[in-house]
Amino acid sequence: MSNQSVIKMGSEAKGPLGKLRVTLARRTEGRAVGLFIIIATVVTLTQPLVFTAYQVTLGRIALIGLVALGLTAVILMGELDLSVASTLAVSGVIMTVVANETNILIGVLAALAASVVISLINAFFVAIVGINSFIATLGMLFALRGFALVISDEQPVKLLNVEFGIAFGQPILGPLTPRILIFFAVFILLQVFVTRVRVGREFLAVGGNRQAAYDAGIPVKRRIFTGFIISGGVAALAGVINSLERTAADPTAGSTVLLASFAAAIIGGNYLKGGKGSIVGTLIGAASLGMLQVALTISGVQVPVQEIFIGGILLIAVITDPSSLRAVWGSINTVIQGLKNSRAK
């Protein structure tokens, strides 16, 4: 049965449309592009403000997408980093506390340094001790949440240099704020790293077949350490940006970031078991999700309904995976064949 479908796809690949369809199906981000086009069309028809106030939409995409970009580094290797939400919170608090005592630059460096330590601990438990990354980073998620509350004395920490924080949230290049520019800079750096740099390219090999990666001489443990440092570092950067823009660090921040980041990565076609995915896909996933969220917010749709939409988009992203489709189609055929056989008897 599966042979039949392969022949069909081949025969339909004739002509520019067929070729485009096959290309979209082959690329991991192909389905993400399809979803993006559908969402963009619906949003254009119903809420044009999403595009006319594009700097606001870009800001929302950057808010969701920054953490998702870093997260993609570990997802490509088949690992998870649930601690990004707490890393974001604790980094914001560290930056603000240190900046209030010294200056903002030292505060930012302290936050990034803390994220490296957090990432090394995560990677140690995953790569050296061999604990499942879901469990190891779940523990870190709780531990860091508590740590953020302890060092902030369980209350938001106000940034003393309020003027700098307010200025940081203003556009500096046309309508683009530092958050949006940093987001695109991180995207370009990670895209180049994962596609052009050997170490980055090996992330996919580690995620695809770990034993084969070992056999090929790839230092898998070192790659896991690198992936977690990228994931934690980018989450810390997001925490620093959030705290500067809000002129305060909230120790409970990041409550909605974790799921949104994973959603962006999954919508972007990244395979949670690793070996399949791309940074471009995550960017497209974040853009789809950001546009949808802004449109639903403008429409006044309440959070539970918004969650139904985001869940629906996620489900579509998952079930339209070619292997899932093959499985579904195979099951349907089995049922039909069973019915035919029972009638024949």
């Binding site: 004395d153 369980e154 305060a248 409550s255 539970p304 939409f309 079930i319």
Partner: protein
Amino acid sequence: MRKSRLVLAPAALLSAAALVLTGCATEAEEPASTGSTTEAATEAEAETFNVYALLPQGSDQAYGTTYLPQMEAVAAELGINLTITNSQYDADKQASECEIAVAARPDGIILWPAVGDAVRPCLEAAAAAGIPVTVTNSDLFDADKDLSRGFSGPDTYGQGVASAEIMCDIVGDASVNIIQLNGSIGNSTAIDRDNGFTDTIAANCPNVTILDEQNTDWTKATAQQVASEMITAQGLENIQGIYAADDSIAAGAIDALEARGVDAADYFITGIGNTFMGNPLVAEGKLDGTVFQSSSWDGGNAVRLMHSVLTGAAGAERQLLLMPSVKVTMDNATDPSVAPEW
């Protein structure tokens, strides 16, 4: 081809649903003018305002389930097209929603701060765009108040005062030792209620001694644990009463007492909220008194305040619309006027 259908069908279905939903939202925003005269239509148009309500909760929380319907009902009555957001107490999400609201250029923004310290950039952006902001439920910090046109919501200090007055009334002239269970550390409502309670106890009934005070996270479970530890530390025989900053906390403290094999009705206990959890305890006599906080009053008056600002009925000065702190004791606990709302 079949695969394409499988891919496109759910996506198209979702898109259609989104179209219907956003279309519904747009439809609801349009005033019903069919059949009215030109003058009436012009008048109705002149009285219609577009307002964003940036809230940290909605129908996903007990308070919001009665806050929102009243807010929407009053908005419909006053000709206000409301767009309501819910940041789920995430300051970053609320900041993003504020950017969207400012970009949409509404006539006004009603703000319930998710995190009080983090709203200044939002207030400044609204001020720069000439959009008036009123605050609901939790007021701003003093340094930010000049960026808003008013506040409506519970008088959190007054609630602490009312709870203390109930305590003073039931204690009388007796010398009593109590323990105090506050809300979460740094929370402005917890701080205001604490100040209102302790100031009033010191002024009205100095015969009440506060042996110890501890913070909770507003939940019954944590309150029970904290109260139990405080009872152990102070000795059950030395404690005659408990002040709880919230009815859920009071319920936890009552459970902690009863776990020691004593009857909570024998103790002087006051709370705040008159919630679905607190009101029955008052009726049973386990909780001596609480203070009514009406979520429907809160939601409705948030819109009324904004309407008065937009129509110019409010003066140039910052407006304050404080919820009356009605005391609820066993005498009036079953009155329909103080029926719990959340």
